[in-house]
């Protein structure tokens, strides 16, 4: 295997490969930063280019560049205008935009970039080194295990929400209920659709996110008008300091591990990784009460987790021929077009090319850092734009992005509806973050739990305690973990309350 690896290294170090990767990264960042234009859509449009380029060491690294750039690019509008560019940036908006309002947008963007690059780099190295041994192991994590982890995550969110417990719990339940709307994934029966076809697919994530986060911001900005005492900063602020970065290093590595694991499991994807990275960062923090109010660690936790997914999705794709999501399905097509057939024989027959692609993927992170760093000043110009110009543009982006995502006029209704929910929640001092978490994780829990029930059949005792003991262990440990984290969070709540009084 070592000679193949070295031959791959030799093949990967080509100037044109890296020129194409740079192009892909830049395109990906631009597309990702356009709200509503997701990485999947970007790659779907660009995939014919890789078909036409006859060389696998150009076409595929180009698409990988788009993939990496797109997942990072989504964080830019999330931080600057509270509009997640893609679903992957869902948790970046929680703290990222608060930082922008405090005049720390440069710090937030830089933290997002460094966290993305570092996590991408280490997860790519993991992929490169572990692709041979880890291949078959990933299959051990099926629907029962996913269901148990989703259950645990929801319990953790419930007990550790910032602010009053009942408010957090209510929003979480509301989010879970929103997730139920639409066709039942097992029977196809319509639920809460009021007989309309529009709700058959349920609410789409992108308009929901833009509505919940961006519209209330726009509403507030309009309400405050051009008052000079506006609480919204109009400066980009200082660079990220090394001490701040160092403080988040643990979070970055924790989220990298979470993201890497989620990438290995086919079908989970970046939004779930980002959410879990964020939750883990909050629960390990010494100041969890600051999360959601502009904590750099929150940006790091979310951004590191979503980018760490990218590399490891290649493991099930290349070794088993299993695309876990739409992006990897497109990559599968790109590989096949170059005459490379992902699956158990790929490493034997075309090991050199595969290693070359993986090595290019690792080295691409250096370009990722440079290009990302150079584009930040460009993006941060948004903050200094006069409000009277920025607000109309933001409104346009919100509506255009919503329509762009699925070309579905009903999504506009979703956007406005959730915009009103967001404004009402903010006025009543409810945090919408648990609602979004409930929406995403609740749907996943329902699906994987339904699969688990179908798999278990009648002999569920044997299934739970013999075949799937891992699932049962997580479920049994959940109350203990929940109580422990809940008590810990309560201490911080009291501390915060005492701080406010004193």
């Amino acid at each position: 295997m070592m000679e193949v690896f070295l031959a791959g290294l030799d093949a990967a170090l080509r100037v044109d490969t890296f020129v194409w990767i740079s192009g892909g990264l830049l395109l990906g960042m631009l597309m990702g930063s356009l709200p509503g234009f997701t990485t999947t859509m970007g790659m779907s449009v660009l995939v014919p280019i890789s078909f036409l380029v006859g060389d696998p060491l150009i076409g595929i690294p180009f698409l990988i560049g788009v993939y990496k750039g797109g997942i990072y690019g989504g964080s830019v509008p999330a931080i600057l205008i509270a509009m997640p560019g893609t679903g992957a940036s869902i948790a970046t908006v929680f703290d990222g935009h608060e930082l922008t309002k405090q005049g720390k947008s440069r710090k937030a963007l830089e933290m997002g970039l460094y966290a993305s690059v570092i996590s991408d780099f280490f997860s790519d190295i993991f992929t490169l080194v572990m692709i041979v041994p880890v291949g078959a192991i990933v299959l051990g994590f099926g629907p029962p295990e996913i269901a148990s982890v989703m259950f645990l995550s929801l319990v953790i969110i419930a007990v550790t929400s910032t602010g009053p417990v009942m408010k957090g719990l209510l929003m979480l339940c509301l989010g879970i209920w929103f997730g139920f709307i639409g066709a039942d994934p097992f029977s196809g029966a319509a639920r809460y659709t009021f007989g309309t076809n529009q709700l058959y697919d349920g609410f789409h994530l992108i308009p929901m996110l833009i509505g919940l986060f961006a519209l209330p911001e726009i509403f507030n900005a309009v309400k405050e008008g051009d008052q000079s005492n506006s609480r919204i900063a109009t400066f980009v602020g200082k660079h990220l300091e090394f001490s701040e970065f160092k403080k988040s290093l643990r979070t970055i590595f924790r989220s990298t591990a979470i993201g890497t694991f989620i990438g290995l499991v086919p079908g989970l994807g970046q939004p779930i990784a980002a959410m879990m990275g964020y939750i883990a960062a909050k629960n390990s923090s010494k100041t969890p009460e600051k999360f959601g109010k502009g904590e750099l660690d929150g940006v790091a936790g979310a951004e590191a987790a979503n980018n760490a997914v990218n590399g490891p999705t290649m493991v099930p794709l290349l070794t088993l021929g299993i695309p876990g999501d739409a992006v990897t399905a497109l990559l599968l097509g790109a590989f096949m077009m170059q005459g490379l057939r992902p699956g158990p024989t790929l490493l034997e027959t075309n090991g050199e090319v595969v290693f070359a692609i993986l090595i290019a993927m690792v080295v691409a992170n250096i370009l990722f850092l440079i290009i990302g760093y150079l584009t930040i000043p460009l993006f941060t110009k948004v903050v200094t734009i006069k409000r009277s110009l920025l607000i109309p543009v933001t409104i346009m982006l919100a509506f255009a992005g919503t329509y762009l995502a699925r070309s579905n006029p009903f999504d506009i209704v979703t956007l406005i509806g959730f915009g009103l929910v967001g404004i009402a929640a903010r006025t009543a001092k409810f945090d919408v973050a648990p609602m979004v978490m409930g929406f995403i994780l609740g749907r996943e829990l329902e699906y994987s739990f339904g699969q688990t029930l179908a798999l278990a059949g009648d002999d569920w005792l044997h299934f739970a305690f013999v075949e799937r003991i891992g699932m049962t262990a997580v479920v049994l440990a959940t109350p203990i973990i929940g109580i422990f984290l809940g008590v810990r969070m309560n201490r911080f709540r009291q501390k915060a309350a005492a701080g406010e009084q004193g």
């Binding site: 395109l27 597309m31 356009l34 234009f37 999947t40 859509m41 970007g42 790659m43 779907s44 449009v45 660009l46 995939v47 014919p48 078909f51 036409l52 299959l139 051990g140 099926g142 629907p143 994934p185 097992f186 196809g188 076809n197 058959y200 697919d201 086919p266 079908g267 099930p316 088993l320 021929g321 299993i322 695309p323 876990g324 999501d325 739409a326 992006v327 990897t328 399905a329 497109l330 097509g333 096949m336 077009m337 170059q338 005459g339 057939r341 992902p342 699956g343 158990p344 024989t345 790929l346 762009l404 699925r406 070309s407 579905n408 699906y447 339904g450 699969q451 179908a454 798999l455 059949g457």
Partner: protein, 323 residues
């Protein structure tokens, strides 16, 4: 890039230009503007990839670009409705398959359109013949053994599928109906995760298009027990007819359709373009690399296939929903 591919953008430009050009566009000039191909599937699926391959070749034979417009949602009904409601001038086409075209009318009971009267076939681009698969080390060596096990314990054999009423699910319910079996169906999000479940040993059997698991079959990780059709596709692997299924079961036809009302002349122009495209070697090579065949079927010939499917699926739906 997006704006280049966005059909609306082009339509807008051409409408704008239309004001300045002569209004009298003769029928001979068809197509006079880019053609929009509505793809009612989500980005990244095999249908998306298929469409992108043939759309990039079709340009040369139509003299106009073919723009892909993804309109996913409601199991394909949204995109189909959009195509049905578009102007039947041949500039808007629909990429669909036999399940969405003929089966979903019974399973979703959509009253907004009727595919039989609202859509006419331009061409069948290609088809996939499904195979029944088990893991390489499965205790089921042959279909006969698996069938016996399923008969012995109704619901005891589990099968992973890629979603309700599509590629793997429909052949499975046809197998259950025709062979009087009861399989325990476990849904997964797409063919990839469904295959992962089989490889992990979470389920006993699955279905797959043989091209997508060829590498696994060679490596001995997957065993193919039967393939669709009346002929054997793989030596020593029985066909569906041999195991007692009708010869039409398990075929997914990828079809391009136009809204009814299109003039005969324009329909012929489109059919001719597809027929000439499928002879091009570059196109065949690209499709083969994707693991797809290029078994083109003329629109008129496919209309006859549609009639047969319609009665087959009516019977299938009748037996399912009468219970």
């Amino acid at each position: 890039m997006r704006i280049y591919r966005d059909a609306n953008f082009f339509v807008g430009i051409f409408l704008f230009l239309g004001f300045f050009s002569s209004n009298a566009v003769s029928e001979e000039q068809f197509p006079e503007k880019p053609i929009t191909l509505i793809v009612p599937y989500a980005a990244g699926g095999s249908s998306d990839l298929n469409a992108r391959v043939f759309a990039s070749f079709l340009d040369d034979y139509l003299g106009q670009p073919v723009l892909i417009k993804l309109v996913p949602g409601q199991a394909g009904q949204k995109g189909t409705l959009e195509a049905v409601r578009s102007k039947p001038d041949g500039h808007t086409l629909l990429f669909t398959d036999n399940y969405r075209d003929q089966l979903h009318r019974y399973t979703f009971r959509n009253s907004a359109y009727d595919t039989n009267t609202d859509l006419v076939t331009v061409a069948r681009v290609n088809y996939g013949a499904i195979g029944i698969i088990v893991r390489g080390d499965s205790i089921y060596e042959t279909w006969v053994q698996l069938e016996a096990a399923a008969k012995l314990r109704p619901g005891g054999v589990t099968m992973s599928h890629s979603g309700l009423w599509v590629a793997f699910f429909v052949p499975a319910i046809q197998v259950m109906k025709d062979l009087d079996l009861q399989l325990r169906m476990v849904p997964y999000r797409g063919g990839g995760p469904a295959k992962a479940a089989l490889l992990a040993g979470d389920v006993d059997m699955s279905m797959a298009f043989p091209s997508t698991i060829a590498a696994d079959a060679e490596a001995g990780r997957v065993r193919i027990l039967a393939t669709a059709g009346s002929e054997r596709l793989i030596p020593n692997v029985p066909s569906f007819v041999e195991i007692g299924l009708p010869p039409t079961t398990g075929f997914m036809h990828r079809v391009v359709m136009a809204p009814t009302g299109i003039s005969e002349k324009r329909l012929m122009t489109l059919r001719k373009a597809f027929s000439r495209m499928q002879q091009e070697q570059g196109y065949q090579r690209m499709m083969n690399r994707l693991g797809e065949n290029t078994e083109y079927l003329d629109g008129t010939a496919y209309e006859a296939v549609r009639v047969q499917q319609s009665s087959d699926y009516r019977e299938l739906a009748g037996s399912l929903f009468s219970q």
